[in-house]
Symmetry: C2
Subunit: 319 residues, 2 copies
């Protein structure tokens, strides 16, 4: 058996998904976790290239995440934002001084012609991360939130308008021209992974952008590694972010079943295991009737122990 | 007499020139000083558009300049640079947290399609400046320092290599496609200025880039307002920066006479008055023989009083 076959590929958006990614990183042998991150949230702001989900993963996996704010870096300071506010500049997207260094570094590297894949890898190394963080693609893909006639770039919806507009749908600009991260594709072709884990991230704006890159979900479906998805909806509410609100506005049942249906409709035969929370155990038979194996586990991750335990449950399914 | 006819147009580079600009702003009626700034030093760094000479003028004229460092903002903090250093990013060009807000704001405005002229004007208003700061042109012009076979972008020569390379010449990339700031041209056409003052800035890398924009120096020569140039060389040394070192390397006599010759050779009939320091009084006859009227004044500006006195001397010549 090749050493790489102990490796796991996780698909993740930002904060919610990064929690399980941290658990997986902790319970897997060092360097065996590969995380493919959504970059549909990436945007240019104040001249800088910002990759919110990649940065959340970088900060979480390096132990530098700000647990109080729930985003950004621990011990952050805000000198630049304060000065920008005095200039009446745009401060709705809060960029801490330490966080800004990441964006400046990344933007400088992009201007020098480096690839987002290489940049992300270097940042992970510089932050002392042993796991591998892979942007979902090199190309620019931009998640657009449709809301009653308005088309909002994701961060405008998510941060500036605080998820208040009711959503009617989503689109991913540029996705038709994007290709799955070639490094991940090479590992998949090499049967490098023992499992693929879809972290409890937002189905519409974190996971769909990844899966809908041409060739992506069919490649994941066709590879030998089983795919485990952890429901981001527990007891009718979202573990993190606007997933529940979006489901409600889209007329989808706000339950783990609604999540399972979303994936089974859009990506037939992709899911092997669907992990739901203990509190949603009664939904198991109906989810199973969609043709996926249901696993029941405590999925709420309040501390590192919770994250590690959920990671162990997930890996136990395929071990 | 139109009110505008009390206005003065100053040409300036960074720190040295900004000192006299501040003196002029103080002794002229509020709002009557127009400063046309060199933008040949502008460059992109870490993804940001940086305009060092404009920023020095903004910070100096708003009373926010860092007198201790001699550049940047007073009370500056360095959180972002410290974080960037930890990422092993480029920190040779020191960007303070407050200074960074200016660059982020400017870069964001440029990305939204605003002109450098409008951006500079807005920044000046936001900083409470009553004088008018005009970039020399809207187009991108880049000063290149030639040094024994190497061509160094100006900030690389000036900051990263600390002016150590011996210069053999200069070029201004893009200058042939540039046009003089149209707002300044309109004021000149309207005979708005009672005097044009060339501040004691570096002839080669601060003033030449301005004057060599097509149509610039001939328009200044042909307008009715007298032109007064203040020598940046006093007693064989530069008031600020590498002017003396450059003159020496170029084989130009490192004296106020050398400066006068430079301008008279390149821009015949441009200078009406040439102001030299009291300590250089013996050079007056030879400079006068070049066809310019020589004025002798204390030109070293150590404090605000010095700046105001020199401004009054300059204005007295043409009053």
């Amino acid at each position: 058996m090749k050493a790489l076959q102990e490796s796991v590929l996780a698909l993740s958006g930002g904060v919610g998904g990064a929690k399980l990614a941290l658990g997986l990183a902790d319970v897997l042998p060092q360097g065996q976790l590969h995380v493919m991150a959504n970059t549909g949230d990436d945007f240019r702001h104040l001249g800088l290239h910002i990759s919110p989900d990649i940065d959340t993963l970088l900060y979480t996996l390096s132990g530098k995440a700000n647990e109080v704010l729930g985003w950004g870096l621990a011990g952050e300071t805000w000198s630049v934002m304060d000065a920008l506010e005095r200039l009446r500049g745009d401060t709705w997207f809060r960029l801490g001084d330490n966080d800004l260094a990441t964006h400046l570094w990344r933007t400088a590297q992009i201007e020098e012609g480096a690839s987002l894949l290489q940049i992300t890898d270097t940042l992970a190394r510089q932050l002392g991360i042993h796991s591998h963080i892979h942007p979902m693609c090199e190309e620019r893909v931009s998640t657009i939130v449709h809301s009653e006639g308005r088309n909002l770039p994701f961060q405008h919806y998510f941060v500036r308008e605080q998820c208040k507009p009711a959503v009617t749908g989503f689109s991913f600009e540029g996705i038709a021209q994007a290709s799955p991260n070639p490094n991940v594709m090479a590992l998949l072709a090499d049967e490098a992974f023992s499992a693929i884990v879809v972290c409890p991230s937002n189905p519409f704006v974190s996971v769909d952008p990844i899966l809908q890159i041409p060739q992506m979900w069919t490649t994941l479906r066709d590879c030998a590694a089983p795919l485990v998805l952890v429901s981001p909806i527990v007891g009718g509410i979202a573990l993190k972010g606007p997933a529940a609100k979006m489901m409600s506005e889209l007329g989808v049942p706000v339950t783990a079943l609604g999540v399972a249906q979303h994936y089974c409709d859009l990506y037939p035969d992709l899911l092997d295991y669907f992990v739901i929370d203990e509190s949603d155990a009664t939904l198991a038979p109906e989810i199973a009737s969609l043709g996926v194996e249901v696993a029941i586990a405590p999925t709420i991750m309040n501390n590192l122990g919770d994250k590690q335990r959920l990671a162990q449950c997930v890996l136990g399914l395929v071990g």
